[in-house]
Symmetry: C2
Subunit: 293 residues, 2 copies
């Protein structure tokens, strides 16, 4: 039953590099850097969720492929800039040199900028998305990536580095840094399906799912940073402590972190009940969060 997500993954893969053909023109180092970070891949969780939510809302997933690629471009932009020396200063990303290590800071800065703007062209120029749905997708994506979302979370993270962060602020930082883009991903799926009278109900359920998935996601990431190895994780471990970063583990301890991760996972899964057929997404979510039960 996992294979529906393999179909989704194939649909995204097929469209994702359209803007970055191997043969260059007018591309160059910056496009190569963007392509490099895009192809470093990862699980493609966000675009898969865009397609899955479109399907759960009764839409053809094909209608949401451009929106799904847009979400993945945005995610990749955030990774490239987050790794840069003036941010988290990570040399490794998914087991490969991070973008600025492979292409230099100038190309990484511009590749990130490129991938922050491309999502909006991808949605606005899409033949699959109606103008009404496109405006909603653009609005959700830009809003949840801005000062009230992803970038606002980065701001808290970088500003508070060093000083003690109260638990509440830590959670709202996680919500902004991680849940926000997941919200945009799921909402784009809802909007591309154009479910009419059900749209508001689906919007709320998608936001509830994404909020809790993001928190579980982030807390599990904190846990792995202290319990895993570079080989398993594909990136350096112990980084959080080295960079004096705020983590759930550091604030509440490992056991409390594991309990919280399980609690948010359950909440995310229950939010799926608002949708008709959600078994695939439920299974995908549990597998994603390391709960193969």
């Amino acid at each position: 039953m996992e294979d529906i997500f393999e179909e989704y993954a194939a649909m995204v893969r097929e469209r994702l590099y359209r803007m970055f053909p191997e043969e260059k023109l007018p591309q160059g180092e910056v496009s190569d850097a963007a392509r490099y970070s895009l192809s470093a891949g990862g699980k493609r969780v966000r675009p898969l969720l865009t397609l899955a939510f479109c399907a759960m809302c009764g839409g053809k997933p094909e209608k949401a492929v451009d929106a799904a690629c847009a979400v993945e471009y945005m995610h990749t932009f955030s990774l490239i800039h987050d790794d840069m020396p003036c941010m988290d200063n990570d040399d490794l990303r998914r087991g490969k040199p991070s973008c600025h290590k492979a292409f230099g800071e100038t190309a990484a800065l511009l590749a990130g900028d490129l991938l922050a703007i491309l999502p909006f062209e991808t949605i606005a120029a899409s033949r699959d998305i109606s103008p009404a749905a496109a405006v909603k997708c653009v609005n959700a994506l830009s809003h949840y990536c801005g000062v009230y979302g992803m970038i606002g979370g980065q701001q808290i993270d970088t500003q508070k580095a060093g000083e003690e962060l109260p638990g509440e602020l830590l959670l709202s930082m996680y919500s902004m840094k991680t849940s926000a883009l997941l919200k945009a991903a799921c909402l784009c799926g809802v909007y591309c399906a154009e479910p009419g009278e059900y749209e508001q109900k689906y919007e709320q359920a998608a936001a509830e799912y994404a909020e809790n998935l993001g928190l579980a996601f982030q807390i599990i990431d904190d846990i792995l940073d202290v319990t895993s190895s570079p080989e398993v994780l594909g990136k350096a471990v112990g980084n959080d402590a080295d960079n004096d970063k705020h983590t759930y583990v550091r604030t509440y301890g490992l056991e409390a972190a594991k309990e919280a991760a399980a609690r948010y996972t359950d909440k995310a899964v229950s939010a799926l009940e608002a949708f008709g057929e959600s078994e695939d997404v439920k299974r995908f979510t549990l597998a994603l969060l390391g709960r193969n039960n």
Copy 2:
């Protein structure tokens, strides 16, 4: 007659900071950095053109204020990132410390990112712009700021630094770096006016105007870098030579540069003939390019 542009400037000023209130929340250093660079001001050429083109196409300029602000956010993003050490490494911008000098590299990177994404929320969430027009504005802005526009121009500029740049490539770099965003600014004005059957004709004239304005603009900038002073210019001079940058003056000499600037200025002005009442914009354009005749 210049005062219509003063009215336009007031309309932009009134709306431009809406997203960056003095009282913080959830803002912080990053929003302050964005506000700082936004308020450094400059002539607001791009947003004024958005309003002027909306008016020239028979639309109420009020309908285009959000789109005008979006264009200015995008322009400010490009200035912040262009000044950073891994780019042009400019310490001064409009007579004030550049963003990364005043707020540090981390805040400058995130403030730029914020201002690259905010334009799309500003357009998509606008009450003044119809969904059909909003999609066209988003498409134009994202396209002309991407790899085929502003960022593509940056890519050529940074890649070719040092080596000799053929004159043709220099001009296409100027077109991408400078004309492209001006095109987006003028086109957003056209789309917000929703001129129906005339849209295509106005699109072409707006693109022709912006293309030539951008080239004249950039060449005059090259000329001022060798003939002006920091006091007059509000930024360091001689920077281009110091950074071994490609300029029209360096490639063709000062006299040829002056002739080219005049030629492109004339072309820009003639493109305005496609519009009914264009006297104000013609006068604005000539004043802007230092030709007060």
